[in-house]
């Protein structure tokens, strides 16, 4: 077996994106420092337009149904599952750059670094979805994470009306990097144990090794330990309880575009890799009961804690952090169903769809938060008071996104949640109970999502003025709203795309 052009072709989206990241970084060297004006815009435009190239490669791959899916000796698997996430990450790139443009311009003043870091992180995220080898996955994970650590601390000057925002940013960064390293350690320990019991780091080989694995005995316990540690490592990324505690602090402290990026890219990538490792690596097949239980417990606690604590938050980003914890809980319900009956493409596709909708919606919601921060510097819940009167369009878009997150029909969030719950329920066993817990959690979540909507529409605004809304952020918001509506109407095709991804995930296993 030799490396050939096919392998490069399979890797072409990642390569192109890396090239773009390098290009942006290099271009930044030639930009006049300090000033505003067209130069800053150029970088964003280059980054956005440049993403068409990886997108083109991804599309090329997607429309080549007979392509080989694995390359680089099985380290890379560019199957439909990976392509689904690649599209998602490229979309995230587009959304985040748009949403963050004015914030970066106003408060961070380091656009080159920011966009380059973002693109590098996206490369890592893409690799997390397409890697099928533990070492590669680990590298991808760290490639994703390092830029995030830096992004968290990029706010060097205080945002007006928001004292100590710079201090908070640094605090977020150090917390993030130290906790991230700890989580890497536990993940690695789990991977080491997995490697120990199977003798390989290639997921396919692990799966086949585990097929002949005899349950019981010390090896089984080591494998369980590996399951728990690996789950803990990824659980950190997806902020599942009890590995979630970093999220509120870092979400709050990091500059909002960074927060947005953590909440979508990092989480989606975490799920991509988590599902890949557990399913493609054959972990759930070997000890389904335990893995299922593990995930179900995490799901239950994530939903409940996330929703309940979100109610009492006063900082919008902190609230969104708990919201994202709860959303992770919903996704874990689907993952529990998947673990309960492995080779369950329906749950997988439902998860993929749910993640996609979550990403689109969250981008919209954060675009709203960022736009408000751009205009007023306020990032507290009460800063949303009477937003509708100050900026109706922003208020409507933001509310729509929040209601979609809350799962109020007929918005995409509700449809995807219903699909996810249906898929989970379909597995039988105790899953229906988990679904009912999820439904009750949806009721609780109303309190804070609709609470913001209440503030936006009902509360008295602190000042009766019209807010200037940055064009880029509102473009992101509009795109997100269009996405929400489109995903509601065309949820069918999206489900089919998710289904293809799911099928490829299982066909990787060979049967």
């Amino acid at each position: 077996m030799q490396l050939g052009l096919t392998d490069v072709w399979l890797l072409s989206p990642e390569i192109a994106l890396t090239g773009l990241a390098v290009l942006v970084m290099v271009l930044d060297f030639f930009m006049r420092s300090g000033g505003t004006g067209p130069n800053r815009g150029t970088l964003a435009v280059v980054a956005i337009v440049g993403m068409l190239i990886p997108a083109g490669f991804t599309t090329w791959l997607a429309f080549s149904p007979n392509r080989p899916t694995t390359g680089f000796y099985g380290m890379l698997t560019s199957d439909n599952y990976a392509l689904f996430f690649q599209y998602l990450f490229l979309g995230i790139g587009l959304g985040v750059i748009l949403a963050s443009y004015d914030f970066i311009r106003l408060y961070i003043k380091a656009s080159g670094e920011f966009y380059a870091l973002l693109l590098f992180s996206l490369v890592g995220a893409m690799f997390m979805a397409s890697s099928t080898e533990l070492i590669t996955i680990y590298i991808a994970l760290e490639l994703t994470s390092f830029p995030l650590y830096v992004m968290a601390g990029m706010l060097r000057n205080n945002i007006p009306n928001n004292p100590d925002s710079s201090k908070r940013s640094s605090e977020a960064a150090i917390k993030y990097v130290l906790l991230g390293a700890m989580s890497s350690a536990i993940l690695l320990y789990g991977m080491a144990l997995l490697y120990g019991v199977t003798g390989t780091t290639d997921l396919k080989s692990i799966a086949s090794a585990l097929q002949t694995f005899t349950s019981g005995g010390p090896n089984a316990l080591v494998l369980l330990l590996a399951d728990v540690f690996i789950f803990a490592g990824f659980g950190f990324k997806i902020s599942a309880v009890p590995f979630h505690m970093w999220a509120p602090d870092i979400y709050e402290g990091a500059p909002s575009p960074g927060t947005l990026f953590f909440s979508v890219a990092s989480k989606a990538a975490g799920f991509a890799a988590l599902i890949r490792v557990f399913i493609a690596g054959g972990l759930v097949q070997t000890s389904s009961f335990y893995v299922w239980g593990l995930i179900a417990i995490a799901a239950l606690f994530s939903m409940t804690l996330g929703n309940i604590v979100a109610i009492v938050q006063s900082d919008i980003k902190r609230m969104m952090a708990y919201s994202s914890i709860a959303q992770a809980g919903y996704i874990l319900v689907g993952f529990a169903a998947l673990a309960f009956q492995p080779k369950n493409n329906s749950a997988t596709s439902a998860i993929l769809v749910f993640i996609a909708v979550y990403v689109v919606t969250n981008i919209g919601a954060f675009a709203g938060i960022i736009a408000l921060a751009n205009a007023t510097g306020g990032e507290r819940v009460r800063d949303f008071d009477g937003l509708f009167r100050r900026s109706p369009a922003l208020a409507l878009g933001m509310s729509l996104c929040l209601l979609s997150l809350a799962g109020i029909p007929p918005l995409a969030g509700a449809v995807s949640k219903v699909v996810l719950f249906i898929a989970a329920w379909n597995q039988g066993g105790f899953l229906p109970w988990l679904v009912i817990a999820g439904l009750l959690n949806s009721v609780i979540s109303i309190a804070y999502y609709v609470g913001i909507v209440y503030r936006i529409f009902v509360a008295t605004p602190p000042r009766d003025d019209r807010l200037p809304i940055s064009r880029a952020a509102s473009t992101a918001l509009v795109l997100s709203v269009i996405g929400i509506i489109a995903l509601t109407i065309f949820i069918g095709p999206l489900l089919n795309a998710g289904g293809m991804g799911a099928q490829s995930l299982f066909s990787y296993l060979g049967k």
């Binding site: 493409n345 219903v418 329920w425 009721v443 309190a447 909507v453 529409f457 289904g499």
Partner: protein, 527 residues
């Protein structure tokens, strides 16, 4: 064919969008025009089948709706999961009935809100979105679609109460939302359970009404070792959402608060159509799709219905706030719907005619309560606009200053307490006559309430409008033409239905007959 149902559902939303971009001063007119056109179009639902030559039999049943539109939406089969959700709208007699009621009341609500001057544009837009949501509920013929539409009204309603409401509007709005979402969560659970149970049983997965109505779940579920009949569990899960909406005791406490705090037109819609969503769901979803479960639960349902009736009346009796009094009277009146449905599905070898009478009564009560309570709320609204007070005892002798309002109020009160010749009597009488055979004791309780109803309504009338004029109110002016318009329109409808209910019964008969036949085909429990 012209997609009439889709038009009806989305025309108000389009109106809301036009409103948001249109000139600010014209928002009332835009809203009135859009809801008016919707109302006129909705009449075609009724006239169409008549003109089409199929006569009153052409209104169809759940299996053969007179109007139907279907576009495939989600058709997704992968692994063990088959997910089929269609954008399937349909309207049979029962739906047409509710659609027209909704269109009418929404239109009148907008007319009746002409005086709203605070954030008019948003107010009208929310009313229109509310109309869309309710329209969708009444003509969704796919269960998942039904659920999606079910919650559309939630946020507009929440905001309408929260922004334009009274003193405790925040509390009331939240209570409304949390209650509703809580119920609909269980409803969704029931829907999913029904979907999979039927699919697993018959091999075909569909949530379309015709499929669900023609196939029934069999067997039992086991929960923690407790075995429960499948249909009963389904019925209860689905019903929880409807029971909250209805509202049925003990899930009713959101209603007095919401009614009291909501602005007039919103109270009208709340009583007129939102509560009807619960009643409609009970008949259309619970009874049609889990008939055996419904029958098993008929006795508790009848008892709860009777409690609703007398409990609501009792609470009304001691209210001091006019709107709260009417709100509790809503609880009481909706009890007739519950009792009627319970009698229609009840066990016992009852003559199907009694069942049908009871169900017809329940359905007419849906209409009647909507129109009559709408009138009552409009009346209170007119009064509140002028006096800024709703304490019954603070008024007195208003008849001297507001004769027009007094007489229309008296009319509404008479309709509400079931005076013959007006629609409330038709409904109550049919429920009484239909349910006595199945549930005599509960019917007697309902009939006793007749006295209490007269008591609290007339006492309110007497305290507020009779006697010497309280000098505080000497400055009040009588209702003007704009305020009288919705009242008179509703009054005419109430009178017409009361004198010639055959008009509505013809519309409902095919739909309800279908249900009665299903109930008739069930094995009869020995009593």
């Amino acid at each position: 064919m012209f997609p009439l149902l889709t038009t009806l559902v989305f025309l108000p939303t389009i109106g809301a969008l036009v409103l948001m971009v249109g000139p600010k001063g014209a928002s009332r007119w835009i809203a009135a025009i859009f809801s008016g056109v919707t109302f006129v179009l909705s009449l075609w639902l009724y006239i169409g089948p008549l003109v089409g030559g199929s006569g009153t039999a052409g209104f169809g049943s759940i299996m053969h709706p007179a109007w139907s539109e279907s576009i495939p939406w989600v058709h997704f089969a992968i692994g063990t999961l088959q997910l089929n959700i269609d954008y399937h709208l349909g309207a049979d007699g029962l739906s047409i009935f509710m659609l027209i009621l909704n269109a009418l009341l929404s239109f009148l609500a907008i007319i009746g809100s002409w005086h709203v001057s605070n954030r008019t544009r948003e107010y009208m837009a929310l009313l229109l979105i509310l109309e869309t949501g309710v329209m969708g509920v009444f003509c969704a013929f796919d269960l998942y679609l039904f659920w999606l539409f079910w919650e559309v009204e939630l946020i507009p309603m929440f905001l309408l109460i929260a922004i334009w409401g009274g003193q405790r509007r925040e509390y009331a709005a939240w209570k409304f939302v949390i209650y509703t979402i809580f119920g609909s969560a269980f409803m969704l659970a029931g829907i999913i359970l029904l979907y999979f149970s039927l699919g697993a049983q018959n091999g075909a997965y569909s949530a379309s009404f015709s499929y669900l109505a023609s196939h029934q779940v069999a067997g039992t579920y086991s929960i923690f070792g407790i075995s429960i009949a499948s249909q009963l569990l389904l019925f209860l899960l689905l019903y929880l959402g409807f029971a909250i909406k209805l509202p049925m005791i003990p899930f009713h406490t959101w209603l007095p608060d919401a009614h009291t705090e909501a602005p007039t037109a919103v109270s009208v819609l709340l009583a007129g159509v939102l509560l009807k969503m619960g009643a409609y769901g009970l008949i259309r979803i619970c009874v049609d799709f889990a008939p055996q479960g419904a029958r098993d639960f008929a006795l508790p349902l009848a008892v709860l219905g009777a409690i609703n009736i007398i409990y609501g009346a009792g609470c009304s009796l001691v209210q001091r706030d006019m709107k709260k009094l009417i709100a509790y009277s809503s609880v009481s009146h909706m009890g007739y719907v519950i009792l009627g449905v319970a009698a229609a599905i009840g066990p016992g070898a009852t003559n199907p005619a009694f069942r049908e009478a009871a169900l017809t009564g329940a359905a007419i009560q849906m209409f009647s309560h909507g129109a009559v309570t709408g009138m009552l709320f409009f009346c209170v609204g007119v009064l509140y606009e002028k006096a800024h007070l709703r304490e019954i005892n603070a008024f007195g002798g208003l008849m001297a200053r507001m004769p027009r309002l007094t007489w229309i109020y008296t009319f509404a009160i008479m309709a509400s307490l079931g005076l013959p010749g007006l629609s409330g009597f038709v409904a109550e009488y049919l429920v009484y006559t239909g349910s006595f055979a199945n549930f005599p004791a509960q019917t007697i309780i309902a009939a006793v309430t007749m006295i209490l109803t007269a008591g609290y309504l007339l006492w309110m009338l007497k305290r507020a409008f009779y006697g010497p004029l309280n000098p505080r109110w000497a400055h009040l002016n009588d209702a003007n033409l704009l305020e009288m318009a919705p009242l008179v329109m509703l009054g005419v409808v109430v009178l017409f239905v009361g004198v010639y209910p055959g008009f509505l019964v013809d519309l409902l008969r095919p739909s309800l007959h279908q249900i009665i036949q299903t109930m008739g085909s069930l094995p009869v429990a020995g009593r």
